[in-house]
């Protein structure tokens, strides 16, 4: 663990950020600016824009379930990574542990699946 390894990341991050903010500034300076009320409305295929996005901006609960599943599987992944890296020194014991862990998650996954949490229409 050596913080020197992070100096180059900082360097390219600064370069990228400088480029991004330079572009943002340049687009503000280089383009023309002619006021037009219709142009500043949000795009709605030519009709008068509705004051708020659809449904008052609310949306389907399925996105929430997807995000929840994503977190659960993300957590599984971050446990699988150290498991995989240390795999050769863990042997059968580690495999059985991980098997139990995944089995529990698969049970949850199967439940979501059966309840239709993975259905999109």
């Amino acid at each position: 663990m050596d913080l020197d390894l992070y100096v180059p990341i900082l360097a390219i991050g600064v370069l990228g950020a400088a480029f991004a903010f330079f572009s943002l500034a340049a687009s503000w300076l280089s383009g023309p600016r002619r006021y037009n009320r219709a142009r500043l409305d949000s795009y709605e295929c030519g009709i008068e824009p509705t004051p708020q996005p659809i449904g008052g901006g609310r949306f389907q609960v399925k996105y929430f379930i997807t995000a929840m599943l994503f977190i659960v599987f993300d957590i599984e992944i971050i446990f699988l990574y150290p498991f995989a890296v240390a795999f050769d020194s863990l042997g059968w014991f580690g495999l059985i542990e991980m098997g139990l862990f995944i089995l529990t998650l698969v049970a949850a996954f199967a439940y979501v699946w059966r309840r239709g949490g993975l259905e999109w229409d």
């Binding site: 663990m1 050596d2 913080l3 992070y6 708020q52 008052g56 901006g57 609310r58 949306f59 609960v61 399925k62 996105y63 929430f64 379930i65 995000a67 929840m68 599943l69 994503f70 977190i71 659960v72 993300d74 957590i75 599984e76 971050i78 446990f79 990574y81 150290p82 498991f83 995989a84 890296v85 240390a86 795999f87 020194s89 863990l90 014991f93 580690g94 542990e97 991980m98 139990l100 862990f101 529990t104 998650l105 049970a107 949850a108 996954f109 439940y111 979501v112 309840r115 239709g116 949490g117 259905e119 229409d121």
Partner: protein, 189 residues
């Protein structure tokens, strides 16, 4: 002060300042964005404290997933553009809950880890079997620790995740009902 210490203090200040912004901004989406800054700064603290693996896990899970879930949940329950939602009438209760959690955590952590020193400068032959300094906090040592010392916590975690998923489905209980209605209405169209 070593450079690491300076960085650590800067990150700590950033963490606390952005956390204050989270609870004080009236706009819920902006609050979520400040939370990103807070969690990212905590990841930076982990990094300076040589917990490299944990630091990037913090970025992946908290910054990349939990706040996305939070944003989805915000947009699910109310219009993302509304500024009214973040003000609450039971501020004193919330403040009490927040400060008492802080107190419990501070006491538990300091009493649990006071006096424990990770020796990063000692030579491998002086360690007597402990992980060599360059391996502290790396993936392999984290893996070996989880799968040999922390087995129970690891398995309990899977049950917590199971509960979380089932909770999410129950909260959104409409999914199955609506499917039934659609099936009842005849899937013709």
């Amino acid at each position: 002060m070593t450079p690491e210490l300076v960085v650590f203090w800067l990150l700590s200040v950033l963490t606390v300042a952005s956390a204050v912004m989270v609870v004080s901004t009236p706009h819920v989406v902006h609050a979520a964005l400040w939370l990103v800054v807070t969690l990212g700064a905590v990841a930076g603290c982990f990094l300076v404290l040589t917990a490299e693996f944990v630091a990037w896990v913090q970025v992946l899970i908290y910054v990349g997933a939990v706040v996305v879930l939070l944003l989805f949940a915000l947009m699910l329950t109310r219009s993302p553009a509304s500024t009214t939602g973040a003000t609450s009438r039971n501020r004193p209760v919330a403040a009490f809950a927040g400060f008492s959690t802080f107190g419990v955590l501070a006491v538990v952590l300091t009493s649990g880890f006071r006096g424990i020193v990770l020796d990063l400068d000692s030579q491998p032959d002086q360690l007597g079997g402990a992980a060599p300094p360059e391996r502290i906090g790396d993936t392999r040592s984290v893996g070996e620790a989880i799968f040999t010392h922390w087995v129970l916590a690891f398995e309990v975690l899977s049950v917590i995740l199971l509960a979380a998923l089932i909770g999410a489905i129950v909260v959104s209980g409409r999914v199955r009902d609506r499917d039934r209605q659609e099936a009842a209405a005849g899937g013709g169209s």
